[in-house]
Subunit: 352 residues, 2 copies
């Protein structure tokens, strides 16, 4: 017997590396190549620093209200957390307490099984189809909850709103969570279904579309009843997860949404151009509606490409995992960054 | 059967109110009356806002290193979280997984039983002595873990380092957590015991001493082994809990420690003066080494005083709880604020 016996043993999630090299082209963690915008800069400059001696508003009321207006929901349908990872963790803890396993795809955000292990939630992996699409019928069986990202990560492929509605209709006894971290790069959101289904929860983040990965803001949206349960758990965990500066920054970002949408349109245009060039070079990929693409070459080995890109100062994401070990996930950067990526890739393939 | 059956039912913690009235004298949540200091302002002004598009350093390495130097520990003995409430929550989740109940005082930080309910941890309340002191012998019995604040909240009273060492010695099979949120206002820290006891965890916060309640930074310190387990759980919950601005602000605060210590000395001097005046007015209280006092009047009713102070724009904390319902917890503000508090209190008592 030792104090060590009382420690929780977990296999922690390993995030994409954050290399410290200079002049790196960083295409490995799906960050937005464009900054958070002018109004955020202004909000930081105008922030009254002495206010930091006080606790922040516990429910980030002003930011919640701005988001409610942005999404056409009520304030009490908006939940905020310290990044969408915290929102996801609290969602698992709040919503997945059944004896039945929850369902999610075999190829998806790798944090889901980690939350299950941390909170001892039983789960069942649902294989994607061979083309990496999600088959709605696979989620029609009994379960303790359903979660998948749309667009899915790391594949970038999407499920239609109609198919998601069908999944919800078949699951009146489960909470269905749709993780829309990447939806603003051309996807179709199911926020519009929230008022029809009390058991639907939709998760967004400020890290991708809003270019604010550094500030840690995540959002969950659903029925007032479901959201109030998330707040009860949040208030049992940490009364003040969103600091006062983050609240001011988030609010400025919401006010700057037109500029941010224009930046997302630039990312999408760059993506379409890069996709075309990569196809001409012998790559295939699922159609992406995210700020990344998931590419496989007809002959070159993925790990080999990953290493050779890295040697040239370009970092992408490689997953040494069954079914996807011949793919690379490449975030969409600026046009200049992607030109360099394409140029280096051409050289690598020519040399191979 | 309904999706509602799978929701976690909890009784959430209710934090001290954050009233929105203007010109209020806010003495109810133990905030520091002095701001976070000049270097923090500078750090915010100098922060390169475009960096916010990138994820922050996942382990807040620079801040950890600065804290390790400040405390005379190794970097790997420092754990950081989004406020000490998150640090506490992750500590409960990581360290308290025994079949035996954990032990903490009946009168203490009211979040402890909330974490136990959230994570389904069995606990036993250990009554304080009549004078509100902690009797070390009460913690010598078998248990699944021990936690108490020192100074204790809301009483402000302290346990000696020798007594805490005795508690640790009697608990080789448990993690012993000492929550030192208020230690820098005249208490004696057990950080110096860390290198002797691998099962000791000490928790600090940036919210009180460092005047940064608005930024959400908490610290846990212990053996490398214990801290690495906290990181495993943190990395299973949220890879990036500390945003990039908070890291820069925390680092600036550590560099400004001399100024912050001088502010704490001012708070302590104000406390001693206020204590003397209150005793002359018929109040008794445990000796406080915190930035608050816990006072009881010989004849006036506590709730009545609370209401009358509030009517005059002074907010203190009243706990409607067995054993302490005749006490008020009063944070120590600036000299001007406390002069006004004493003046109003005199008037109330004269009119009563």
């Amino acid at each position: 017997m030792s104090w060590r016996n009382n420690l929780r043993a977990v296999e922690p999630y390993v995030a994409g590396e954050q290399p410290k090299l200079k002049n790196l082209i960083k295409l490995n963690t799906n960050e937005n190549p464009y900054g958070p915008g002018r109004l955020v800069k202004q909000a930081i400059r105008d922030f009254e620093v002495d206010r930091l001696r006080l606790y922040p508003n516990a429910d980030a009321e002003d930011l919640r209200h701005a988001l409610a207006e942005y999404y056409g929901l009520k304030d009490r349908q908006i939940f905020l957390g310290n990044g969408s990872d915290e929102v996801l963790a609290l969602t698992f803890l709040t919503c997945f307490n059944s004896d039945l396993p929850i369902l999610f795809p075999d190829i998806t955000y790798s944090f889901y099984p980690v939350y299950c292990e941390l909170f001892q939630i039983d789960y069942e992996l649902v294989p994607l189809r061979d083309d990496f699409s999600i088959a709605k019928e696979d989620y029609f069986k009994e379960n303790g909850g359903v979660i998948f990202p749309n667009p899915n990560a790391p594949t970038g492929s999407t499920v239609t709103v109609e198919d998601i509605e069908d999944v919800i209709r078949h699951n009146p006894n489960s909470v269905v969570v749709i993780d829309e971290a990447y939806v603003d790069f051309g996807g179709d959101s199911v926020v519009k279904l929230i008022d029809r289904y009390e058991n639907l929860l939709v998760i967004h983040t400020f890290s991708k579309f809003r270019g604010l990965a550094g500030i840690r803001l995540g959002v969950a949206m659903g029925s007032e009843e479901l959201v109030s349960h998330l707040y009860d758990v949040k208030n049992s965990f940490n009364s003040y997860p969103i600091d006062a500066l983050a609240q001011a920054i988030g609010l400025a970002s919401v006010k700057d949404s037109d500029v941010i949408k224009a930046n997302a349109a630039k990312v999408m245009a760059t993506r379409e151009r890069v996709v075309k060039e990569l196809k001409a070079m012998g790559f295939t990929m699922p159609e992406s509606r995210a700020n990344f693409i998931f590419i496989k070459h007809e002959s070159a080995n993925a790990k080999d490409l990953f290493m050779k890109l890295r040697a040239e100062g370009i970092v992408v994401r490689y997953f040494n995992q069954p079914r996807i070990d011949q793919y690379l996930r490449v975030s969409i950067g600026t046009d200049e960054q992607m030109d360099r990526f394409l140029e280096v890739m051409k050289d690598i393939l020519a040399g191979a």
